[in-house]
Amino acid sequence: MESLIPVLILALPLAMFLILGLFGNYMSHKWAGIIGTTSMGVVMALCYFVAYQYFFSGAPEFVDADGNRLQFIVFNQDWLALYEKLVIRIGFLLDPISAMMLVVISTISFMVHLYSNGYMRDHHGVWEKGFQRFYAFLSLFSFSMLGLVVATNIFQMYIFWELVGASSYLLIGFYYTKPSAVSASKKAFIVTRFADLGFLIGILILSFYTGTFNFTDMTSAPVAGMDNVYQVGMAAGSIFQNPATMSFLGGSLLTTALILIFIGGMGKSAMMPLHIWLPDAMEGPTPVSALIHAATMVVAGVYLVARLFPLFMFNEANGGFALEFVTIVGAITAFYAAMVACTQLDIKRVLAFSTISQIAFMMVSLGVSREGYHENLGYMAGMFHLFTHAMFKALLFLGAGALIHAVGSNDYTAMHGLRKYMPITHITFLVGCLAIAGIIPFSGFFSKDEILTACFGNNIVAYVWMSLVAGLTAFYMFRLYYLIFWWKEHKVHEGHHAPHDQPWTMTLPLIILAVVATFAGFIPFGKLVTWNGEPYTIHINWTVASISLTIAVLAIALATIMYKKENPLPAKMKNAFPNLWRWCRNRFYWDELYMFITHKIIFNGICSPIAWFDRHIIDGTMDAFATVTNKASYAIRGLQSGKLQNYVLVYLIGALILGGGTVAIMFLFF
């Protein structure tokens, strides 16, 4: 494959960022939107082209004779040549997951670009302040995310990882005059930065012992007779010469490194206990939430684990527990987020916790993936769920954006009974809910079923647990759905318009995504994305499928009973478990715990003494020098009398003492 198109995929969004960022204020809002959207459309077309070439052209660098998909490095440019063994490169790696991610990112990004044309202005058509800036940041984000998924080496991934974090920060804080947005953006930045510290240390340990940054060197073996083509899995871990003897701080080196790297992923993917930034990140504009905090950036952690999956496998085979760690973190997070999502008022927060829960699903799926069971079904299932989740969660978020735009509030108590007013939004939102709840034949059913099957094959506890979470998911999504669109008649306040469907720029993405969310489940994902590129056919395990379908239907039925019409059941439920309800409503007090640790323990216990030391000892010493100098000069300033002759006299006395001393010494000794 020529490298022109891959270069363009990265260069176009970057160029748009520069153009819109530098010259955005000189163009009209409308044109900024059109230019941004068009260029993103072009990028989407290019990504589709590349993905199509990769999956379906059958070129020898993409598929070998047995039908296994290969990794192909389109280009790999030296960027920082520190010394001959430490070279950091920027490149473009094409393999099943990166090709899939190109499709996901460019699709969602284009939808969001299109949607924002409608969203970022009010009902009178007045554009939001900073509209061009918004598009510039969206382009920056698209660039960074695309660069992240095509990274050929872990350092490139780290660079784009940080760029993604920076653009997320910029977009969360888009309404920078709002204090809550500012503090949310700071929170997101600091929490993910904290996690990235682990990531960086993990990278350093890993690359110190493997001597390379390249993913292909760590996870794959070169294919004989072809340049830049690799087969995943065959050489996994062989780069560690003798893993048994390599230890770091008493633990297995590889386990330590992988867990540290996973901590980076936990930060980005909002796994417990680093999840606290994601609900607050909803302060950003809703399209941003859809793009960054639902569909693409937050799955970067999943992508990272998937990218290094052969190393995780190797670790597992050598008695490490990195995959178990991933599973446990994922399982706990999934349940926790689902519980919290049942009680939130703000519809975007419900969706945020739902996102956390679904990403945790993917993590669990990767964590339970074992070679012995269906050739790593979990890996494929996680990637599949990533794909379908991106589509239906973006759909739900964009639908929520349409609702918020129509009603002017994030709170579902201001909505209720909107189904008659906004039919398109209603139908598409319902499609999203059915997809996430896992009702056949919507896409979520297939991917979630694969995950549950993978859990079932690995560990019965994980299976039961995740089925429970899936039931909770169906419950809280339909609770949200009924509270928005049913419950009771919508009250139209005097002097306000009745809510109505939004302009085509906003409804078209909804419809497209709804169609995708409905039918994406029929994509033969097993043929396209597997851990080592070997295709296989997905078999639906009908035992698992029927159980999970039953659970989902029961949960939906429960939600229907409780929330379809206004009734006292929810209040009764709340009063039956007051403590549980309160803990869920307050997100199990995680934020308060963090506040306590940072403010009470770290600030008071560590920072205040340091500040005191700095202020009184270090500054005090310097101040003392200044004070002494000051006092001394006050004391002797009389010498500076301004009288020329006094100066001369003093000078003469000095000279005479020196001269006289010299003469005396000469007289005495020479």
């Binding site: 300033r637 009389g638 500076q640 009398s641 301004g642 009288k643 020329l644 002759q645 001369v648 006299l649 003469l652």
Partner: protein, 105 residues
Amino acid sequence: MNIELNALMFLIPSLFMFCCGIYGFITRRNMIAILISLELMLNSVDINFAVFNRFLFPGQLDGMFFSLFAIALAAAETAIAIAIIINAVRLSRDADVKDLSKMKF
């Protein structure tokens, strides 16, 4: 009485001249008088250069050149000093050195 002229005999008047310069510099109030005292001191140093050269290193001319340059420097210094004095007099209507106390703390 037949005494050879030696270096000391030239250095003593020069030293005396220098001491007069010091006395004048410290006691006089008129800035031009102070400048005159300064010239006396400079001049005595010039004499010393020439005398040392003549008596101790008779073949060379370095002391003489030093004196020569010192004379040129003295001329330059005087010119500037007088310009400053004229300026100061313009401000204070007097050439008294106690008016030049702007350098005070």
